[in-house]
C-alpha cells in the first residue's frame, strides 16, 4: 500500500471471521487489518492529494465530499459492528504510514484495551426528542408580509380563520390574547423539557452509560420541531430489544412531542476514557 493511512477503528483480533470482500472504505479502497501488540487497526491507504492536511481541509468544506467520506467511514464501522465491538476513531484520522499507525497503537495500547473491555458486547442507541408546537402568533405575523405584497383583500376572511385568531376588539384584548398565547407556549416548553428529562432518567437507569449531545440544528437536520433531547445510550447488545421497547413505551398522551430512535451504532459516543465525553 502506498499513500497515507486512514484508520477507522481499533478492535480485538477478528479470528477466523473476515470482513465482507466487497466492502470499500473512504476513497473506494477496501479496508485492511493491521495487527500489532495483539490489537488490530482497520486501515485503508488513501491518496495524499486528498488526505494530507491542506487538501483535507479544503475537502471538509465540501458537503458532498464530507457526506461521502462520513458514509464510507460508517459503512466500514457498521461491517465491523456485525463481527466485533469496534472502537471507532474520529473521522479523518490519518497517518503517514503503517509504522505511524503502529507507534500510535503502542502509545495508546493501555487506553485502547480498557475502552475495548468497557464496550465489549455493547452497542449505542441514539434517542432524540422533538417538540413541535404551533406558534400561532408568529405564524400570523409571518404571513402578513406576503399578503400585503400582492394578494387581494378578498382572501382576508379565510386567512383569518386559518390563523385561528379571534377577532380582536381593542388594544387591551389584543395584549391579553398575546399574553395568554405566550404563557401557554412557555408551559408547553416546560412540559417538553420535563418529558425529555424523565425519559433521559429512565433510559439512563436502564443503560450502562449515557451521553448528551448538543441539540441538532434544524437547518442541518431538516427535522421539524425543536430538538430538546439528543442523547446516546450504551446498552449490552443482548438487552437492546428491551431498551427499544422501553423507548417505545414512552408513547403517551403528550401532544406535540416526537421521539426518534437511531441505532444500533458502534460505541462512538463512549470511546473516550470512562467518565468522560466520547471526544
Amino acid at each position: 500500500m502506498s499513500g497515507l493511512r486512514y484508520v477507522y477503528a481499533i478492535c480485538r483480533p477478528l479470528g477466523s471471521t473476515t470482513l465482507p470482500s466487497q466492502l470499500t472504505g473512504v476513497a473506494g479502497v477496501p479496508p485492511k487489518q493491521l495487527t500489532h501488540h495483539g490489537l488490530v487497526a482497520i486501515v485503508s491507504a488513501v491518496p495524499e492529494e486528498d488526505f494530507s492536511e491542506e487538501p483535507l481541509k479544503a475537502h471538509l468544506e465540501d458537503l458532498d465530499w464530507l457526506s461521502a467520506t462520513a458514509r464510507a467511514h460508517q459503512s466500514v464501522i457498521d461491517a465491523l459492528t456485525v463481527v466485533t465491538s469496534p472502537l471507532p476513531l474520529r473521522l479523518a484520522t490519518v497517518f503517514r504510514d503503517d509504522s505511524g499507525v503502529r507507534t500510535m497503537m503502542e502509545t495508546q495500547e493501555e487506553t485502547f484495551r480498557r475502552t475495548l473491555d468497557r464496550i465489549e458486547g455493547r452497542v449505542e442507541w441514539g434517542v432524540k426528542v422533538y417538540a413541535e408546537f404551533s406558534e400561532s402568533s408568529e405564524a400570523s405575523e409571518a404571513s402578513d408580509s406576503p399578503r400585503s405584497s400582492g394578494a387581494s383583500g378578498s382572501t382576508e376572511v379565510s386567512e383569518d380563520t386559518g390563523a385561528k385568531s379571534v377577532k380582536v376588539g381593542s388594544g387591551r384584548d389584543y395584549l391579553r390574547q398575546r399574553r395568554q398565547q405566550r404563557r401557554a407556549h412557555e408551559d408547553k416548553w416546560e412540559q417538553a423539557e420535563e418529558f425529555a428529562r424523565r425519559l433521559h432518567d429512565a433510559l439512563s437507569r436502564f443503560a450502562e452509560d449515557a451521553r448528551i449531545h448538543a441539540p441538532q440544528n434544524p437547518a442541518l437536520s431538516r427535522a421539524s420541531g425543536r430538538n430538546v433531547l439528543n442523547a446516546a445510550y450504551l446498552v449490552p447488545r443482548a438487552e437492546s430489544e428491551e431498551f427499544v421497547e422501553l423507548v417505545d413505551c414512552t408513547k403517551g398522551d403528550e401532544p406535540g412531542l416526537r421521539v426518534e430512535l437511531t441505532g444500533p451504532w458502534a460505541a462512538y459516543s463512549f470511546s473516550g476514557p470512562a467518565g468522560q465525553e466520547g471526544a
Binding site: 492536511e53 458514509r71 484520522t93 437536520s221 414512552t250 408513547k251 421521539v259 430512535l261 451504532w265
Partner: protein, 62 residues
C-alpha cells in the same frame, strides 16, 4: 406523540458521532485537524451549504 425509527441514517446523526465521538488521537502531524477544530469547520461548512448567504469560514473567521 410518536416513536419514529428511521431506516436511512441522517447525515446529521452520523456527524454527531463521527465529529463529536470516536477516539481522538493527537501527535501525528496530519492529526491536528482531526481535533476539536474539525467539528467547528465542518458545521460551518454544512451551514454554509445549507444557507448560501453565510460566508465561508476560511475567508472570514466567525
Amino acid at each position: 406523540m410518536t416513536v419514529v425509527e428511521r431506516r436511512e441514517i441522517a447525515l446529521v446523526d452520523l456527524l454527531d458521532r463521527l465529529l463529536a465521538g470516536g477516539v481522538v488521537i493527537t501527535g501525528d502531524l496530519t492529526l491536528r485537524i482531526a481535533d476539536v477544530d474539525l467539528v467547528r469547520i465542518d458545521l460551518n461548512a454544512l451551514i454554509s451549504s445549507v444557507n448560501a448567504q453565510v460566508p465561508s469560514p476560511w475567508q472570514e473567521p466567525l
